[in-house]
């Protein structure tokens, strides 16, 4: 299947909107999405498959008497199906209920300019190139230590594009690329298997170091061997970006979404201007972050993305909004409408949730600790209480720190507490910023975290 061109995508979006208008909607919006992903996969120590996935479709939002209907299709070749999709959006709206807080679709605004989001080199990669990346990674891991077993991994290149149009004259097109490689390994010792250890590279531009990924995934697994149980006590904890991302995704990030605030599901409701974190914590939702994984010219409903201060030196400054939640408060959208391609209506979501780095190296962070725990991954973070921020999770793998040295890997240590308490207890930030999903952050040093051991 040949990729749809920019003009074709825009024309399709505009056609769907004008068709909806002719059929008598009050307002309409069309979102056309196309994603092409080529990947090469590693399974149990060998490259054994490769795939190409082409997914594209059209989603139409129709508003009639303040009620919203939505319909989508991935059958784009047929005029009849496009028309049927528009009719279904309309009939869904008619079947639905009016929403008094609906104040219209977004109006036209100039899009932001973004950098570092597209690289032609990635578009031109073929599966042989990806096989090379994957095997470099695999070889590096296997060479590191013979106890290492790479269980799965991937090298993948994606080209994504989207077009939007609505009945207020909003229209736009943007495209971008992503390249990634990742490897999960375990190490097998005497009668012992480590938890899965994982490393990766992910970038918008072709800037990969598969050898480092392989080595690092292997090094982590080996150092997770000979794990010991820890005792139950409150100590200082360093969270790596993986652990932070898992912890924040269901708690802090939700707490700053206007949708959660308006619906009484956020512990940050009514706390703008108040201190919610330690002085050293500054957070932006930066939809324009150079090379950010979620950097785009416009969001899921055609509103320009922007950089929004969330927490500055510990003080809560803003929530993030899409068009609906903003208009409900007579505010402007912060460009945080996200959608799952053509398959869904927009939802409030963070773009690049960037926690600003500190100035210590990660070695310095470890060096300064008399007793602590270095936590790479968490298990069970999705079972946190999203409203209260309370969590009870397993740190695996994690390493015990004593007198500034990593002394051994720990086994089955649980962490329990409240993420909002954790934020006020942050007392160190490293200078090792990296991007993981929607999070951009350094290592985090937090005092007084309850560790439940044997």
């Amino acid at each position: 299947m040949v990729a749809l061109k920019q003009e074709e995508m825009q024309r399709l979006a505009e056609k769907a909107v004008s068709l909806a208008e002719r059929k008598g909607v009050d307002e309409a919006e069309a979102f056309v999405y196309q994603g092409l992903t080529t990947s090469v996969n590693i399974e149990r120590g060998q490259i054994n498959r490769s795939s190409r996935i082409i997914d594209r479709g059209l989603g139409v939002r129709a508003i009639v008497n303040k009620a919203t209907g939505f319909s989508y299709t991935n059958v784009l070749e047929s005029e009849a199906v496009i028309e049927e999709t528009v009719i279904k959006a309309l009939s869904s709206a008619k079947a639905s209920k009016a929403d008094k807080d609906w104040h219209g679709l977004p109006t036209k605004k100039a899009f932001s300019s973004v950098e570092g989001t597209y690289d032609n080199k990635i578009v031109e990669l073929n599966s042989e190139d990806l096989v090379n990346i994957a095997s470099t990674m695999l070889d590096a891991a296997e060479k590191t230590d013979r106890r290492v077993f790479p269980i799965e991994g991937e090298a993948a290149a994606s080209y994504l594009c989207k077009a939007v149009a609505n009945s207020n004259g909003v229209e736009g097109f943007d495209h971008g690329t992503i390249i990634e490689c990742s490897l999960a390994t375990i190490a097998k010792g005497e009668g012992e298997v480590t938890p899965a250890c994982f490393e990766f590279n992910i970038e918008r531009k072709y800037d990969m170091n598969p050898e480092w990924v392989g080595k690092e995934a292997a090094r982590l697994a080996v150092s997770a061997l000979k794990a010991k149980r820890t005792e139950t006590k409150s100590i200082d904890v360093i969270f790596t970006q993986f652990a932070l991302q898992q912890l924040l995704q269901y708690t802090l990030i939700n707490a700053v979404k206007a949708d959660y605030v308006q619906r009484n599901q956020s512990a940050f409701k009514g706390k703008i201007g108040e201190k919610v974190a330690s002085d050293i914590v500054t957070v932006y939702d930066d939809g324009l972050f150079n090379g950010g994984l979620r950097t785009w010219k416009f969001d899921g409903e055609g509103t320009p993305q922007q950089k929004t201060p969330i927490i500055e030196k510990g003080i809560l400054r803003n929530y993030i909004y899409d068009n609906y939640t903003a208009k409900k408060e007579r505010k402007e959208s912060t460009g945080n409408a996200s959608r799952a391609g053509y398959l869904s209506t927009p939802n409030v979501e963070a773009t690049n949730f960037r926690i600003m780095s500190g100035n210590k190296s990660k070695e310095d962070l470890i060096d300064g600790l008399k007793e602590g725990l270095l936590v790479y991954f968490l298990q069970g973070a999705h079972s946190s209480n999203p409203a209260s921020g309370e969590f009870s999770v397993v740190a695996t793998p994690a390493w015990k720190i004593e007198n500034g040295e990593i002394v051994y890997a720990t086994k089955g240590a649980m962490l329990a507490g409240n993420i909002f308490q954790v934020l006020t207890n942050v007392f160190g930030l490293a200078n090792n910023e990296r991007k993981i999903g929607q999070l951009v952050a350094p290592w985090f040093l937090v005092e007084n975290v309850k560790v439940v051991g044997k």
């Binding site: 190409r52 869904s92 079947a95 209920k97 807080d101 096989v131 209480n385 089955g412 329990a416």
Partner: protein, 461 residues
């Protein structure tokens, strides 16, 4: 459809010399609703047609997915898949082989009493609104609720180069209810899921009022719950928690692909890993259950698979590739979320077999421990470390269920914990859910109440 699929397979075999080729095509229709409080955020309907092409060339897999059923596009896509496989085979050490499967020609029809595709979207909105009104009307401390609803209907088509051709009707109904309650600075959160492959008649049993009240009641009850001490305690687990434990802590390790990847079960086949009272099944045949289907996505008939019998590991869950590696019988566990994904080993309805204890008998011997009634999420690692988050739990003091506790989770090592199961109840419940393993699968899990001599409880007090 059959002709188009046949031609596509022929391209792979004749032009590229594929050892194996399969096409999975789908014509599906979905209705979705999201309600936030009494507001219908959007009523959604969608069409998803597409095809997945998977081939083995030179012993490596090639896969292509396209959102169309056009013959020419499919021929191009399958050529792509073959070229991808060739590229992947460049560094192959051990060529992939598949266990033999019987050729099947079949047509499976769904026979719901109430076909969701024949029910108006207005009726579905009313069902969801009744849920939301029941929740919000239960108590004024309930501040918000979110109702999601999904139904999916249509047909999938499977053909491979070994003379299997299956047309299979698809029907799924799913709904999730979330409620939050607030009092002073205490937030509580409660969730429930409904899922069925039978039909819209699920709402005659799990009525919007019954489910709504269940969610609301739990959120309110939790307001009085206290944080608890962390540490190791005896526990009685409810069917819903046993289910997630069987699924997360044991089931994933018994998915043969993960077993091969080094899960702790690898050297435990035929060995005793649990106490005598522990028997586990993964069963694709439970009528109307959310994890049931007739044929899996490699065209293999589903079955009831015995995994653990009286504490001994007797089976794993397989696809054709792992069955070949283990020289095991096919179990029909290969599933793909949709045409965008390759089939991988997934669970179906996974559960523990009931025995003979009453709930009172399980609780009466516990001096101090916890009754862990309902879960919120769970996760396991290959090394056997599991975590199950809890949304409803109580203290047990001197053999009696006492005060509610909040936001706990239980953790431990699967194998150590299974040996500590000392009593199994005679009741049984099966709960629907969704499982993520890079793609989503609809599943059920469950069992009776059980007692565990000790488990690690993570608490913040």
């Amino acid at each position: 459809m059959k002709d188009v699929l046949r031609k596509t397979i022929d391209v792979a075999v004749q032009k590229f010399g594929a050892e194996y080729a399969e096409v999975r095509a789908q014509k599906l229709f979905k209705t979705m609703l999201t309600l936030k409080e009494e507001r219908v955020e959007a009523a959604k309907q969608g069409i998803e047609n597409g095809a997945a092409l998977r081939v083995l060339v030179n012993g490596a897999w090639g896969f292509a997915s396209v959102g169309t059923l056009n013959a020419e596009t499919l021929a191009n896509a399958v050529s792509d898949a073959c070229k991808m496989a060739k590229a992947a085979s460049l560094r192959l050490k051990k060529p992939i082989k598949l266990a033999e499967a019987k050729a099947v020609e079949d047509k499976v029809l769904m026979t719901p009493r109430k076909d969701p595709s024949k029910i108006s979207i207005e009726d579905k909105i009313n069902t969801a609104l009744t849920m939301s009104n029941t929740i919000l009307g239960y108590d004024n401390r309930i501040k918000s609720c979110t109702i999601d609803y999904l139904d999916l209907t249509g047909t999938t088509y499977f053909m491979n180069n070994e003379d299997t051709y299956i047309e299979q009707g698809k029907l799924y109904i799913w709904s999730r209810l979330l409620a939050t309650a607030v009092e002073a600075s205490t937030f509580t959160f409660s969730r429930e899921e409904i899922g069925s492959t039978a039909g819209y008649e699920i709402f005659d049993i799990e009525t919007p009022e019954i489910v709504g009240e269940r969610v609301a009641k739990r959120a309110v009850k939790q307001l009085k719950a206290k944080p608890q001490k962390g540490g190791t305690f005896p526990a009685v687990l409810g069917p819903n928690v046993v289910g997630v434990f069987v699924h997360e802590a044991f089931g994933h390790l018994a998915e043969a692909d993960l077993t091969l990847s080094g899960s702790v079960l690898l050297d435990k086949l035929g060995k005793k890993i649990a106490s005598d009272v522990v028997t586990f099944y993964d069963d694709g045949l439970v009528e109307g259950a959310f994890g049931s289907f007739e044929y899996d996505d490699e065209g293999v008939p589903t079955q009831k698979t015995l995994l653990v019998k009286n504490g001994v590991v007797v089976g794993l869950m397989h696809n054709r590739e792992t069955a070949q590696k283990f020289s095991a019988k096919l179990t029909g566990n290969a599933r793909a979320e949709d045409f965008r994904f390759e089939p991988i080993i997934r669970m179906r309805n996974t559960f523990m077999e009931p025995k003979d204890y009453s709930f009172e008998e399980l609780v009466e011997d516990v001096k101090f421990g916890y009754y862990i009634k309902n879960f919120r999420g769970g996760q396991a690692n290959l090394d056997g470390t599991f975590q199950v988050g809890i949304q409803e739990a109580y203290e047990i003091v001197n053999g009696e269920v006492g005060a509610p506790i909040r936001n706990a989770s239980i953790s431990g090592n699967t194998l150590e914990t299974l040996l500590k199961v000392d009593a199994v109840g005679k009741d049984f419940e099966l709960w629907p859910g969704r499982c993520g393993k890079g793609q989503t699968a609809f599943i059920c899990d469950g069992g009776p109440h059980i007692r565990v001599k000790e488990v690690l409880v993570g608490g913040s007090a």
